[in-house]
């Protein structure tokens, strides 16, 4: 049973239906980056409509909205909104952060030859792929894609068109996440290299472990809720429909006595932990890159581990802070406000530890580090602006305004997505054996940082004015918005510039792939295990020598040593 099963693989086996975690990781990475780009384009259309409501959209309008002479209609806007959210979260960021980074790096960073269940891993990717195809196909069905928000609140979602395909797609996407997270948990528990004790794990692995637990525990309720909603739509049940509804002028034929709020509880029971699914892998990546580029250990490594573990646990009992305005009584709102404030403490611990990690370092400002550093204040803004939303009294006014949009976009866009960019620049040499251009990287970073803030900062101003989200005309109808509407054009132009700022990144990827391969396995002089493997790591086995771990993850600048780093695998 030695290596005799390593038969020659043909192209399909090697690159399409591969069971190698690295190929699957790359499949996830490429697919999710394309979806991110697509979700971004949907947003650009929306932003055009918000800035210049009901005008013909240049170049693309007549092709996309042929029926209305190139003008976006409310149903188009609602579709774009729902699908932008769905695509960015479920088809973009999570598959990139967990599917791509998790799959590619977890076995390498723990010195394993592959994931624990390679075939399950492939099943996870293909389930994701099918979910993506269903979501994309829904645009071309007669009903069109979903248009009830990514939150899909019933009864609207039960009455509105497009939702069936969305629910089916979600069932595949959730299944994919469940398979993937199970695999990551087992891999981390079972396949660590000899000597790799729990507190020698890189912080990124801890983040992936907590993330996987969140996915595996939080997604099943949404999967069942999606199936219940599907039944409400298709077979006439009424889990989420109360009695006595009148929709579009006629009584609703339903058994009734269901509850719209039941869906909200099931949905947010997933969707709040989901926020941490989006952010924890990003925090893990930032931790790795900061340690490497400050040339010193992460400050408070153990507190960081405990903090994200606590964060993960708490994330299961804060969900109803999305529902303060549903008629919640005093004791329940008090409970969820209290848990929400409690969960802010480990977040403060994480950010503070990262900031303190910089002190005393010898900081290198390469592209991955720039993205990782900017993550800190950007995620800081995102986290802090969550406070007035988590306090129910201030949420009365700010709920569902642009303040909320600004808040979670700061967490996910200049937060998570910047961290993911950092990760791509940082691990690109490991994946390809080549380097990405620093000049193009900086050309990508600085405009992205600028325009990102140009898009999202004014949202806080609009939110403070009380401007609601999800407005087809950007809020032009409302008197209370009249003071802040002029920001819309500024934000839209920023969004288009932000789009243009991604061109250097795409060019950089292509040019670098065509570039010269280097023999240097460890160009960043890093300590973690993946850098001792060849670049790219060997198919199916990863390492060309046996891995034994003798050191903690961040032994940088150890006093008395000549080199400023001591790899985990060195004797």
């Amino acid at each position: 049973m030695s290596n005799d099963h390593h038969h020659e693989e043909n192209f399909i086996q090697k690159y399409v239906f591969s069971v190698d975690h690295k190929i699957i990781g790359l499949q996830y990475g490429i697919t999710s980056l394309l979806f991110l780009l697509f979700g971004f384009m949907l947003m650009m259309l929306m932003r055009y409509q918000i800035a210049y409501p009901e005008t013909v959209i240049p170049y693309f309008g007549e092709w996309l909205f042929a029926g209305s002479g190139g003008v976006m209609l409310p149903e188009n806007y609602n579709t774009l909104g729902a699908m932008h959210g769905t695509i960015m979260i479920f088809l973009g960021v999570v598959p990139l952060a967990v599917g791509a980074f998790g799959n590619y790096l977890v076995p390498l960073q723990i010195g394993a030859p592959d994931m624990a269940f390679p075939k399950l891993n492939a099943a996870s990717y293909w389930s994701y792929f099918v979910g993506g195809v269903v979501m994309m196909a829904s645009f071309f069905t007669p009903e069109g894609a979903a248009r009830s928000g990514w939150t899909s609140y019933p009864p609207l979602s039960i009455f509105e068109s497009g939702q069936t395909m969305w629910l089916l797609g979600m069932v595949f996407l959730i299944t994919s996440s469940l398979l993937g997270s199970m695999n990551i948990i087992v891999t981390i528990v079972q396949l660590r290299a000899p000597g790799l004790t729990w507190f020698r794990l890189p912080f990124f692995i801890w983040a992936q472990l907590v993330t996987s637990f969140l996915l595996i525990l939080a997604f099943p309720p949404l999967e069942s809720a999606a199936i219940l909603q599907l039944m409400d739509r298709l077979v006439g049940t009424s889990f989420f429909l109360p009695s006595g509804l009148v929709y579009a002028g006629s009584p609703v034929e339903a058994y009734g006595s269901g509850s719209p709020l039941l869906w909200q509880h099931l949905f947010w029971f997933l969707a709040h932990p989901e926020v941490y699914v989006l952010i924890l892998p990003a925090i893990g990546i930032v931790g790795e890159i900061i340690a490497n580029n400050t040339r010193k250990p992460l400050w408070g490594y153990k507190s960081l581990v405990y903090a994200i573990g606590f964060l993960g646990f708490m994330s299961f009992i804060v969900w109803a802070h999305h529902m303060f305005l549903t008629g919640m009584g005093q004791s329940m709102s008090a409970f969820f406000q209290l848990t929400t404030m409690i969960i802010s403490i480990p977040s403060v611990v994480v950010l503070t530890a990262f900031f303190i990690s910089l002190w005393g370092g010898s900081i290198r400002f390469n592209t991955p580090m720039l993205f990782a550093l900017s993550f800190l204040p950007m995620f800081g803004i995102g986290g802090l602006t969550g406070l007035p939303l988590g306090v129910a009294a201030s949420d009365i006014f700010l709920h569902d305004t642009y303040y909320v949009i600004g808040h979670f976009h700061y967490v996910v866009a200049p937060g998570t997505i910047f961290a993911l960019f950092a990760g791509i620049y940082y691990w690109f040499p490991k994946v390809t054996g080549k380097r990405m251009s620093e000049t193009l990287g900086k050309l990508h970073f600085w405009p992205s940082l600028l325009f990102m803030n140009g898009v999202f900062m004014p949202m806080f101003i609009q939110g403070l004015a009380g401007l609601s989200r999800r407005m087809y005309d950007g809020g032009q109808q409302y008197a209370h918005a009249s003071d802040v509407l002029h920001w819309n054009e500024f934000m839209t132009i920023s969004a288009f510039c932000l789009g243009a700022a991604q061109i250097p990144f795409i060019v950089n990827l292509i040019i670098s792939l065509a570039g010269q391969k280097s023999d240097d396995r460890n160009p960043w002089k890093s300590t973690t295990i993946e850098w001792s493997a060849p670049s790219p790591p060997l198919p199916h086995v990863n390492f060309d020598s046996s891995v034994e771990v003798n050191h903690g993850p961040y032994e940088y600048s150890v006093p008395g040593q000549d080199e400023d780093y001591c790899p985990q695998t060195s004797p």
């Binding site: 609602n78 009830s148 009864p155 609207l156 429909l241 109360p242 009695s243 006595g244 009148v246 929709y247 579009a248 002028g249 009584p251 509850s259 719209p260 709020l261 400050t294 040339r295 010193k296 400050w299 305005l325 008629g327 005093q330 008090a334 406000q337 209290l338 802010s344 403490i345 403060v348 503070t352 900031f355 303190i356 990690s357 910089l358 002190w359 005393g360 900081i363 550093l373 800190l376 204040p377 800081g380 007035p388 306090v391 009294a393 009365i396 006014f397 709920h399 569902d400 101003i461 403070l464 004015a465 009380g466 999800r470 109808q477 409302y478 008197a479 209370h480 600048s557 006093p559 400023d564």
Partner: protein, 282 residues
């Protein structure tokens, strides 16, 4: 700080709760500002002081003190104060101090795609029965039973809410079809209207519409009075589901009520009202 937030767009508050809600928004923003500026200064100083060209060799141990725990403790304490000192009492008043229907101006708001039905109980102060079977989108959108005991003097308006100033208002909020959100931005009132549920909302306006308009003179808002906004995605017409709110002096309000009662007598069973759908193509 309220002025700063108002400079950034926060509308002038004109209800009995707006002052306290603005206050907590301000307090939380102070906390955010202190944390952000504190982190920011530390961040920038660290980046300059410990850049590679200046500091060739990193310090393995880094910061050895644990003052950061003090910071985390302080944040926890401030948050507890915010919750117990401000947030919990405001919420308790919102959900526990709902005035009895006899002690307040009692109004029902029934939301539907894409309009606000405002149902007044009439002179007897008691609402007539409403029934799903009677709903007729043209003539009787709320399904009011004129033959029920208290239904004869009830009247309703569409998208036109009138209330008296300095008087407790109790609104029982419900929805015919999907979830909406009844939001009066200047009064800091916001509540989801959820099908299958009737949720009481209460507030007291502290300025009349006229007084409010005077505060808007010279701004972009000049001449635009108060509105009811829908703040929860409710379908294709969500963006134009706008109602109008008029806050009267008590006498003017009484006069308005009489006027409405007059329409009712004039037109008998086949009565109409001052419909304003805000939009003609819904």
């Amino acid at each position: 700080m309220t002025e700063i937030l108002q400079y950034f767009g926060l509308p002038v508050g004109i209800s009995s709760v707006s002052g306290r809600i603005d206050e907590i928004i301000v307090i939380v923003h102070y906390l955010m500002l202190v944390l952000f500026v504190g982190w920011g200064i530390f961040f920038i100083v660290s980046l300059i002081k410990f850049r590679e060209s200046k500091n060739k060799k990193a310090n393995y141990k880094g910061v050895e003190s644990h003052y950061s725990s003090v910071l985390e403790g302080a944040v926890a304490v401030i948050e507890i104060v915010i919750l117990f000192g401000f947030a919990f009492p405001i919420w308790a008043e919102r959900v526990n101090d709902v005035p009895d229907s006899r002690d307040a101006e009692y109004i029902r708001v029934i939301a539907q795609q894409y309009a606000w039905n405002i149902h007044y109980p009439g002179a007897d102060g008691i609402f007539g029965d409403t029934k799903v079977e009677l709903v007729d989108e043209q003539d009787n959108p709320i399904g009011l039973d004129r033959n029920s005991e208290f239904g004869k003097d009830d009247f309703y308006t569409i998208n036109q809410m009138h209330i008296p100033v300095d008087t407790k208002i109790r609104v029982d909020l419900s929805s015919k079809d999907v979830i909406h959100n009844f939001k009066l931005p200047e009064l800091r009132v916001s509540q989801d209207a959820i099908p299958g549920m009737t949720i009481p909302v209460h507030f007291t306006a502290t300025s009349t519409s006229k007084e409010f308009l005077e505060t808007a003179v010279g701004t972009k808002r000049e001449g635009k009075s108060l509105e009811i906004a829908c703040a929860q995605l409710c379908g294709l017409g969500h963006y134009r589901m706008k109602g109008y709110l008029t806050i009267h002096e008590q006498e003017d309000y009484s006069a308005w009520l009489e006027e409405q009662a007059g329409y009712l007598e004039e037109e008998g069973d086949d009565w109409g009202d001052d419909d304003d759908w805000g939009d003609d193509d819904w």
